[in-house]
Symmetry: C2
Subunit: 366 residues, 2 copies
């Protein structure tokens, strides 16, 4: 996909239809557009690909009518659907191989183009943790950084609130019209005055448990680095830290007493190599050298799809797959089939709802 | 000096006389014995060397009578004066180039031969800090480590108290009969039942401010590593950590909230590269690989002293010295004199009370 120019209205409708169709996530979207040449061409080939992948039921494809209705409803709410490379699409987010093809943005788009630091942590934070998150967000805001967080109770809330004036971005796990937690609706209204709210989910989508880790990859993906302020062992903030690490983002953690269970996660992160920080200066010094570095372009795979892979090849590739994730490169080597054939079969399986992609080139059968 | 055999009674008297004479510290002691061949020979040459170094007053040399009196008073208190290599002289301490030539030991000498971990920290520690120091000392004690500390109020006291049964070593800044703080006399009596108290100072010596950093080098020097539990910025425990680092010992620090001033020093140590620890296991895992490593032998310099350096050489070397520390190697290069001549002149100046040695081969004029 070409990131340097804006979509036409017709293209935006096609992109929206494709990403809102069954079994099409950001990675599949990218793969389809690269292989078929355009979202329009991909939409035409979807039913055939899914059938060949062994879809057990009819693949629901988003209609043009539904896509237009969503765009209109978005416009009424002040939400714009923005593609990578368009103004308002955060440049660092566009680097990810699972960057949302269309990001719903409400508020001031300019802030999304500025350097961001994520601040995350416990929902049931201590008074000291809340206070520290506020100080840090304010000081980073004064230094020109936009604060990204997840609009949750606790640390997220404290970080957003302290950076309402300087600019903050709330990353939503549900649709723009389904704010969670509902009591943060007023906070969100204040946020979008000088900052923004973003979501990759359709309007009306109510966030469920598995949407939060998915959302967390956007929080870290937007940012130069993620600061974890307070986190117990095995908490959601540690997932954000792990994703940040996988995305090559800096991970910062705020230390605490070993006797404070709310510091168990952050102390653990430092043991694993995260940078201990106690003040905004520590964060700024660490990210300054990165800010000057040019963004890495994503590696594009633009071989065309194979028309119809051989039945024996398909059977062999499916046979090599199981519930344990395996590298696509290993699949190519073990099957003896060409990379194009393997990728086509995987795309078919994915559209049939039978394949899961894990990132890092790993796939498994569902 | 030969570390592998025990001193004779006569040698111990000579050693004690030499180290108790004016302007003779551990490094000068070692230099004198290496250059002159024995403590006895060094005692004979002291007046001449000091005079040539430009001593402004008569150099007081400890008499045989005074040395015998100190040994007898020590014996009455149950204190033994032990030389490096003798049973009860901590092997890691013997590695230091400023190891005390005679260490006053009271209590169970065996514990001084076992692996030690130092635990140090604030005198005005928080309840959480005191509790953590106790837990850590108990767990390290159960794992077979001896706990070294400085008998101070706060963290030191908590660490000693929790390891009285498993074995702990109190390192004193004054003489064995001048316990500081005085209210820890009972604690010290409990310590020496299963552990030991050590001091390099003569009986009767009341600790003054500059004796504490000097003592701290022994706390770290005894140990495989030093744990700093709580420390404000610019506190004495940070001096111990710096010395530990210079001695090649592991430095461990316990994290705390950035809003807690008593964690400012420990968080700072972690930023500078100390290992963050939250439990005994962290310390044990870090020191286990070191325990197997053989002790490093000190590099001996045993060239004989130059009989009487040339007046011009001496004047030139003194001219190169100033209040800013300079490397002895640079002095040799800049002066063009031989290493033996430079070392002899430095020894003369030291005995005359005009030279300060800083460790790391650095010297300055006083």
């Amino acid at each position: 996909m070409d990131n340097s120019t804006n979509l036409t209205d017709a293209q935006r409708i096609d992109w929206l239809r494709l990403i809102r169709s069954d079994n099409v996530g950001p990675r599949t979207f990218r793969s389809l557009v690269n292989h078929c040449g355009s979202a329009r061409a991909a939409l035409e080939r979807l039913p055939e690909l899914a059938r060949r992948g062994g879809a057990s039921k009819h693949l629901r494809i988003c209609s043009e009518e539904d896509a237009r209705a969503e765009l209109e409803a978005c416009a009424e709410l002040g939400v714009r659907l923005i593609a990578p490379g368009e103004d308002g699409y955060p440049p660092r987010l566009a680097e990810l191989d699972d960057a949302p093809p269309l990001l719903g943005v409400r508020g001031i788009r300019d802030v999304l183009m500025r350097p961001m630091i994520a601040i995350v942590g416990s929902r049931n934070a201590s008074g000291a943790g809340l206070k520290f998150a506020g100080i840090l967000a304010r000081e980073l805001g004064e230094a020109g950084f936009i604060i990204a967080s997840g609009l949750a109770r606790g640390i997220d809330q404290a970080a957003h609130r302290a950076s309402v004036e300087s600019g903050t971005v709330a990353v939503l796990a549900g649709g723009h019209d389904r704010i969670y937690p509902p009591e943060h609706t007023d906070l969100l209204e204040a946020i979008v005055e000088h900052g923004a709210a973003i979501s990759e989910m359709p309007l009306g989508h109510v966030a469920r448990a598995h949407d939060f880790p998915r959302r967390n990859r956007l929080v870290s993906g937007l940012s130069l680095g993620v600061v974890v302020v307070e986190a117990a062992l095995r908490s959601g903030s540690l997932i954000t830290a792990r994703l940040a690490n996988e995305q090559g983002r800096e991970v910062f953690a705020v230390p605490g007493s070993p006797l404070d269970p709310r510091a168990g996660g952050t102390n653990g992160l430092i043991k694993q190599g995260a940078t201990l920080i106690t003040e905004a200066k520590d964060v700024i010094e660490a990210v300054e050298p990165i800010m000057g570095r040019p963004l890495e372009l994503r590696e594009e795979e633009d071989e065309p799809l194979v028309g119809d892979p051989d039945v024996a090849d398909r059977a062999q590739i499916v046979g090599l797959l199981g519930p344990t994730p395996i590298l696509i490169d290993d699949l190519i080597r073990l099957s003896g089939a060409s990379a194009a054939v393997v990728r086509t079969v995987l795309l078919e399986l994915e559209l049939a709802g039978r394949l899961e992609r894990h990132g890092g080139g790993l796939v498994s059968l569902i």
